[in-house]
Symmetry: C2
Subunit: 167 residues, 2 copies
């Protein structure tokens, strides 16, 4: 433990501000989506991603990659959306084993109805508070962080741990 | 809907990068804490905040403010920590109605055992990826965002909504 490199004052201030803002923002986003459409943020992201595709459809495996969720997590969310008639599943014509997630017309209408309120929250509490330079720096910071995590094996870091498990 | 100011390309790229990195990072942080101590991130933050106080204690209302959580949410978390012997509750000597949350010795040991792995995750996947200038910009961005949310009434934004509820 003695070789832990603790955060210095400015690093700690940045991390604490990030944690606070992120928790507040996630709550605001979830509250807005729930009030406007009963969607969770994860479900909204699925509809939004599908709407950007030709025919509103994407293979489940590719959708999971783009959303950075596990296949089991995605399967659950798609099931919830299917029950509401917002998404259907279909066999993939080019691949016997592939399954497509397909945005329905009702799903598209739900997205169109929900998007303005969602964007309003993202603007009011984050984007509109920033200069264009800050927006660009945020993109760079978050892109680097995401890349680091995608490159690292899943599961807890191990190198720092003492010999004995704390149990 | 027609007056919605959609995100432009760079704003959308920044927001998508933020969403992806944040979800990945929260999972990494939670996985690490769970493996090292069985704590959630919310519980870790409580122990960390208390450890910074003289006597390791703070009024519940003040602790809720600093953590930006609801009183009911905090009461639940403190109950979980109390069950593990990491925190106790005590009457506040200066205020009959006040309740103190107090870090126990076992809670302090748990924090000390857990902190190195937590800091390692925060460094590996965020802080160590950034220049000092980026760390400072992130602090500014997140501080502005958090301030905007603290200043706004809770609940969904209403101004954007069409006359009819989408039901």
């Amino acid at each position: 433990m003695s070789d832990t490199k603790w955060l210095n004052e400015s690093e700690m201030a940045a991390w604490m501000a990030y944690v606070a803002a992120t928790h507040l923002l996630e709550r605001r986003v979830e509250d807005q989506l729930k009030a406007d459409s009963g969607l969770t943020h994860a479900q909204y992201e699925i509809l939004a991603k599908l709407s950007q595709q030709p025919g509103g459809q994407l293979r489940m495996t590719e959708l999971a990659n783009r959303l950075i969720v596990s296949k089991s997590g995605l399967t659950y969310q798609i099931g919830q959306l299917e029950r509401r008639g917002l998404v259907t599943r279909a066999a993939c014509p080019s691949d016997e084993r592939g399954v497509l997630a397909v945005l329905t017309e009702e799903g598209m209408r739900c997205l169109e109805r929900t998007a303005p309120g969602h964007v309003a929250v993202v603007r009011a509490f984050l984007i509109d508070r920033l200069t264009p330079e800050e927006v660009e720096t945020m993109r760079q910071i978050m892109t680097k962080a995401a890349a680091a995590m995608k490159a690292a094996p899943a599961g807890p870091l191990r190198a720092h741990r003492p010999g004995k498990s704390p149990g």
